[in-house]
């Protein structure tokens, strides 16, 4: 485990908040630092600790345009954007993917077992990539919104997220059961 103390500072200017900067494998290295926190070392600039990753286009370009953000004691700043994660060394890319997996806690629905309705709630019984789950969601438009062209994201009463990546991949029975209530 790499241990660093105060972020190493150089005389290089801070990243401009109004200018877009793309991070390339040649100019930076992504690694673990203090207490296994994600760090990014930008050549001739500084080491950024406590970094997290966020998709700019999670639906349209899931492996591209990934923003790396640094949250220091004062404020959050964007270190830069990775144009294509596949261009980075495998280890670096794996760390970014892990950071993304941590940030986006979403259940991917594999099978819809049953859908019911009562008093304004929809009761979904589904199998997800994280196991079988029954959840209640308010029957409202803002609780089931579009994900790309044919996907849907559902938000339950606790604001947990469930993703159906493509409605067309559901069986006719599942689709009918789903669209009987979530028709928008």
């Amino acid at each position: 485990m790499t241990m660093s103390t105060e972020p190493e500072k150089t005389n290089m200017p801070e990243v401009s908040p109004t200018q877009l900067r793309f991070l390339t494998p040649g100019m930076c290295r992504i690694h673990l630092g203090t207490h296994e926190a994600l760090h990014v070392t930008v050549r001739n600039e500084r080491i950024y600790g406590g970094v997290y990753a966020a998709h700019a286009f999670p639906v349209a370009h899931p492996d591209e345009y990934i923003s790396l953000l640094h949250t220091g004691a004062d404020e959050e700043m964007e270190i830069g954007i990775i144009r294509n994660l596949n261009e980075f060394p495998e280890d670096d890319a794996a760390l970014v993917r892990q950071a993304l997996a941590r940030r986006y806690f979403v259940h991917v629905i594999i099978l819809i077992r049953d859908v019911g309705w009562k008093y304004g709630f929809i009761n979904m019984q589904v199998d997800t990539d994280k196991g079988p789950i029954d959840f209640l969601m308010p029957w409202r438009h803002d609780r089931a919104f579009d994900y790309g062209r044919r996907g849907k994201v559902l938000i339950d009463v606790d604001e947990n997220r469930y993703l159906i990546p493509d409605l067309d991949r559901l069986s006719l029975r599942e689709l009918n059961a789903f669209q009987r209530y979530i028709y928008w």
Binding site: F105, E159, R180
Partner: protein
Amino acid sequence: MADSRSELLNRPVPDDLAVLARGEGVDPRQAWLSAETDLNLAGGYEQVFLLVEDDRLLTLARPGGRWARPVRVQLARSAVKEVRTRQGVGGGFLEVLVDGVYVEVLAFSNARADLFHKVCSKLKLWIGDRKPSVSREDDYNPRKCPKCGMTLEFKGDLCRRCINRGAVLSRIIRLMGPYAGWGILMLAILLASIGLLMIPPQLTKHLIDDVIEPAVKGTLTTDRAARDLMVLVVALIGILILRAICDSVNGRLSSYVGTQITTDMREAVLARLMRLSIDYYDRHSVGQLTSRAVNDTGAFNDLIRNVTGGYLAQILVVVITGVMLFSISWKLALWTLLPAPLVILASTFYWRRVYPRYFRVWDAWSRLWSSLSAILSGVRVVKAFGQEQREEDRFGRSNRYVRDSARRVEYATSLFNPAMGLIFSLGGPIVWYVGGLEVINNALLGNQEGLKLGGLMAFMAYLGMFYGPLAHMTTLTDWLTRLLTAAQRTFEVLDTSPQIVQADSAKTLTSPQGAIRFENVTFGYSRHEPVIKGVSFEVKPGEHIGVVGKSGSGKTTLINLLARFYDVDEGRVLIDGIDVRDLEMDDLRKTVGVVLQEPFLFRGTIYANVTYGRRDATPEEVLGASKASHAHKFIMRHSLGYDTYIGEQGAGLSGGEKQRISIARALLYNPKILILDEATSNIDTESEQLIQEALARVTAGRTTIAIAHRLSTLKNSDRVLVVDKGLIVEQGSHEELMALGGLYHRLVKIQTELSREPSVDALTILKK
């Protein structure tokens, strides 16, 4: 004695894990805080515990995956400089600042977000060398139903799973309570009308069996037959006239009661909407609410009309004709019931498969309204950007959605209803066959007591009355569905609790002074993202305060909390030493006046708009306020002066003119505390100068809080609060803040470079 330990913050560690922990030198019993999360730091479900002892914190879980040991994170208190929660997507993280880097201690799903916000606040005290208390009181979560534990939409909301909801239909009937007298009268007339309807077949039976047939057979004289025939015909005509009178009276009564109930419901819905908090409007579009207030309430009128002239009448006709059918021939009557099982099956199918499609239709209409409303409201933007075709396409999509969803329902019902009608009609031919045979047999056998031709004719007449309404009754489910859907949507509005309610023993503020105090105020619009974080400040009566900060820093939120458009999550907002939550709502509104960035004017005269907050203002006061706000001059340019009628949202007036009317309105309202929310940010420099002069008059002698992007508008301020990321980072006079060289200094520099002013020092700092 009841256990005072918190169930959530003194969570017991399972025995097997405790054994593993002890092997690592950790005794879970030593922890003053023990909380359980549901995620690990790889983003997967796992039972992980956070244990906090006096001098260290650690996370504990069963070994597995990339973690070979039960203790996953361990940090000494002395190493932790700060604690925070960071929101992810669908969950969040508890993080601590160690060696200048924020380190993730644990992850949690949104189901546990409230718990770890609480843990975070405890840890903040812990790192500050203050031992926080943990007790059962910490388990209280106003966003959870105390009965079933389900997360509520907002604090204090009713749990829809637990409320005693009753059936929608019974509630509708209860709503009819005030009209019970009218209802009984309508029911009596309806019964009389149905009674009259039952008489003609009996007369027919009598006519055939006792008059025509004996006359044909020669057992009755022609004179007697003609006389009886005349009596029966006159009786028939009399009955028809009486029925017509009954139906006419009932039609009028139903119209009277139905329209009255609908009017009452619309007013009740609007009254509820007016009482609901601003956050309700954050969640619902104007189009959807309009549809509920206008369309859905119309269902109650429909109900009354159908009770008197429609379905209730038909149900009664079915029941009474059923009795008549059985009284004529129970064997024949049984044949008519053959289709009953098929009806039950078809109805079940309808409720399960067709019913939910109605929601889509209602939703489609709602969207169409919203879409059209947005296009028409924003028509200037549409034209300015040349997006007419795009909006036409957008509207086209909504319109086709209405078409398609309506077709889906109507295609289904157009198949269902005739199929049901066919099922019911099958009884007719059966009766002709079975009844015809019985009449022939009785005639051949000379059975005088059995069914005769007149009886069969009467039976067929009743059967027509029975099947007619029954065939129509197949649409009962259709109608009832629409009624229940509309009623339920209306009740949803009526059942929504206002988030902002007046305290039971609210205090009055008879002579407000205008002192304001924020005490450790924390607030967020969404559950897990505080916009204001532990803010404290004080404003003396009559003080002029400027509030500056970047967009999204929390300036307007401070004002929203002061005006109590929202309630704080933590801390207190006080006016003259009284928590705003304990104040009479009317007193609060009278004390705090707001001039918004986008002045909203209502359709009506200029006079009505100026006097919006004070309907009792005299013409002299209106003139004075308008003069002071520099509005009088342009108002008088209109040929109808103050009686000039202005359109929706002040159409026909410039931005500056609208703003000056809104300032006149505020001046007339005469609040002790005046809030100016970027009141001059959307207007030209000349108008701004006029408005600034007007504001100088308006604010004299009142506590004033002015939010401003243009720092020139703060030249009259005694003090400036600088807000950044939900905190007040600087405060002081302009000179003090400039000397400080902080965020305010930077903002002034930026603005000076952008403006024509040679320097911000050119701004005259006028003390009142």
